[in-house]
Amino acid sequence: METLNLVAQYLPRLLYGAFLTLMVAVISFVLSFIVGMVMAQMRLSRLAWVRWLASAYSSVLRGVPELVWMLLLFYGIQMWLNQWIEFFGFGQIDINPFTAGVLVLTLIYGAYFTETIRGAIMAIPSGQLEAGIAYGMNKWQVFKRITFPLMMRFALPGIQNNWLALSKATAVVSIIGLEDVVRVAQQAGIVEHRSLLFNFLSAVVFLFLTVGSIALFRYLDRTYRKGIVEVRYE
């Protein structure tokens, strides 16, 4: 009973924290998907230097831990911006942890999406695209009507993996001070001397998120599989 009261007391803050976690995850997911689309096109470019640029981006971003990028950008950019602003005689700017978190996660998972989408585009039989061109479609039409819908089927398992990893990576934003569910729970645990209970609650939030996402992706998979005849084994 006492435990229940304690949880009820923190529930609004925990729920708001969970909402922030979801917001960071969803916004970064959408933005990093766009970054990945652009970078994947660059990785498949005919120009060598464009390919090199995109592949350097994806290797460097994926080769350093999220926390290090987070600290580097959160503290580094803040200081750098403020030096400039001081130079021009304005006041202080504070990048908030939410913005910094979204920015860093977008850049990192943009790199993961680059690889996922590149692989998926390469899996499309080239005849499909040639057929589009033969019908007189322009590049954008071929992309919108053929490349994108066909690519999605191949990319979906990778997109699901990236989304699951990304939603868990939002926890790191709590280290630079975002009051997300991880931080609210951890601090409540310390204040109330019930760390096991409260951190377990934030774990449960992520488990729900995982289960929900898997259901959503199963639905998407059926959508993008329309018109595909599966070979059945056994």
């Binding site: 460097v60 994926r62 080769g63 350093v64 831990p65 999220e66 926390l67 290090v68 990028w69 600290l71 580097l72 503290y75 580094g76 803040q78 200081m79 750098w80 868990k168 990576a169 939002t170 926890a171 790191v172 709590s174 280290i175 991880v182 729970a185 951890q186 645990g189 310390i190 001397h193 760390s195 096991l196 209970l197 951190n199 377990f200 934030s202 774990a203 992520f206 488990l207 995982t210 289960v211």
Partner: protein, 236 residues
């Protein structure tokens, strides 16, 4: 760049370098123990219906479905502050329970054990049925088929996915810096808090992680060339 700035960069790089052994050590120990746990767990996990498979599935679901940071809080703050653990700390020989090392390692070990279990059990389930039938035809028992055929073949095929897990583990150790451990990120953080130079502090750390990743990628490429040679597409 003047001399002072240059010196600052060198100091920062050296300080990050001082954290390198701990980063590598944490990675190595957790991969070793977690890997040894994953071997029997993945065999249980690959069976569909047994009760042990259900428990392993729950274990894997929990540790792959929640952020590592939350798991570390559960171990370090949660389990570490339980009464019986607090009492145990007073017992001579159990001093290590006071330190962050033990709890962080515990978290890292369970985390990698769960991911490795999933990777390996996937490889076990994808074993060619013909390989198993060949073993049975030779008169091997089910256990012998597992030991001599399924496991060696699965371990090889799991190599590409496992190389990702190893790289992610190196990066995961960065979280140890939030638990008073001075590995690479922890050292960089310390440098930043004494010098107030975030760029100078974290850029060398990032470069070190990039180097580790690069070396690991090359090493795994070499391993794959050696152990997956039989799966290369053949020229006709």
């Amino acid at each position: 760049m003047n001399n002072d700035t240059m010196q600052l960069w060198i100091d920062s790089f050296l300080q990050c370098l001082a954290g390198l052994p701990l980063t590598l050590g944490l990675t190595f120990v957790s991969l070793m123990i977690g890997g040894m746990m994953a071997l029997p767990l993945s065999v249980m996990h690959s069976r569909k219906t047994t009760w042990s498979a259900k428990w392993v599935r729950m274990f894997a679901f929990f540790f792959t479905g929640t952020p590592l940071l939350v798991q570390l809080y559960i171990f370090y703050d949660g389990v570490g502050s339980m009464d019986w653990v607090q009492n145990l700390m007073e017992v001579p020989g159990f001093n290590f329970l006071r330190e962050g090392y033990f709890w962080v390692l515990l978290g890292l070990i369970f985390n990698t054990a769960a991911y490795t279990t999933i990777i390996l059990s996937g490889a076990i389930r994808n074993t060619e049925n013909g390989e198993v039938e060949a073993g049975r035809a030779y008169g091997l028992s089910a256990a012998q088929v597992m030991r001599h055929i399924i496991l060696p073949s699965s371990l090889r095929r799991a190599l590409p996915a496992y190389s990702n897990e190893v790289i992610l583990m190196v990066q995961a150790t960065a979280l140890a810096s939030s638990f008073t451990l001075y590995e690479i990120t922890g050292q960089a953080h310390r440098f930043d808090s004494t010098n107030y130079q975030p760029f100078v502090a974290y850029v060398p750390a990032a470069i070190l992680y990039l180097l580790i990743t690069f070396v690991l990628v090359q090493a795994f490429k070499a391993l794959e060339r050696k152990y997956l040679a039989h799966l290369k597409p053949r020229a006709h």
